[in-house]
Amino acid sequence: MATPTMEKADAAPEPGFADSPYITVTFRVRRFNSEVSAEATWEDFQLEIDPKERVLDGLHKIKWDLDGTLTFRRSCAHGICGSDAMRINGKNRLACKTLIKDINPEKPITVEPIKGLTVLKDLVVDMEPFFQAYRDVMPFLVTKDTNEPTRERLQSAEDRARFDDTTKCILCAACTSSCPVFWNDGQYFGPAAIVNAHRFIFDSRDEAGEQRLEILNDKDGVWRCRTTFNCTDACPRGIEVTKAIAEVKRALITRRF
């Protein structure tokens, strides 16, 4: 019974070798090291890689086998922690959710740090302004009763569905760093902060919605959004970011008048 299989394997050893899944890909990585130069430069790396692998695997190959000085952030490597947002072929994506085959490996794959934040080294940026805006919108449940709750805060399925989309945010900064208004001056709250405010403003259990709306009514709050939809395109979780911002705008107007 096993013989036919053996015969097949013996008959054609060569095609199996030629069918190797590996292809040669050029990674063009934006490098910056303040201890060497004030200028960022492009550096090319040639890799043998399976196109079904991810861009992050390519970066690992570079760091582990070719050049250990390459610096980038990644933690879980499975699209949950939001550490490895970077600008790949000119679009903000998670390196761990982008397959090589999906981004035209015939041409060099460009990998840059996300824009609008201070580059510290290679692909690592200073996320502090991003998290500052996040903290500003009070991303935690606020209730009026100061006592410890004695039972679960119940919520209907409809009430939960109201803000379901914005609970998916992983704070990777792909949206905020794709926003042209944020690029101009870091003062704009940015899509991610507004998404996380939306998550509580429309939560029936939360009681500080009015306060959060007031925070976002800032000169650099929701009204600076120009609805370019860059954030919606960039979001690796598929959150309808621009829609969430528009809902906050609408809530501000309907609650004020």
């Binding site: 050049d67 000085t69 201070t118 580059v119 510290l120 500052q132 001056d185 870091g186 009514n217 000169k219």
Partner: protein, 159 residues
Amino acid sequence: MSTTETTASGVGPVEGGSYNVDNPAPYIEAPRQRTKKTPKSTRGNFEMAAWLFMRLSGVVLVVLVIGHLLIQLVLDGGVSKIGFAFVAGRWASPWWQVWDLLMLWLAMLHGCNGLRTVINDYAERANTRLWLKGLLYTATVWTILLGTLVIFTFDPNIR
């Protein structure tokens, strides 16, 4: 010595060459970091009012401007009919006076606010911002005042 060798191989040709571990290049800061000098709150309803005004005036302007263009350029002989007498005839009626006045104010304020946001988004230095906005507001106020003056003081018997 060993540090310079490894970093040099990692990043390619060294430009300037004066930076090293003890003397790193300065980081390019984000355009306007939030600092202690940044005003704590710039809240207020002005931006919301401006945003709402853009939507509402836009809707009204569609009617006003398309009506204006039709009357001036298309209907009843088109552009060749326009002359001093035509304008004088229209402005004899308060309806067209109000129409033109409304169109003037809405269009100028709509355009002014639009350009204000463009300047806010694109001007990189505070000084550039100040001057561009100064120029914009001056031009807007001048045009609105002049236009309003003409509509209200128009005298068809001028000689």
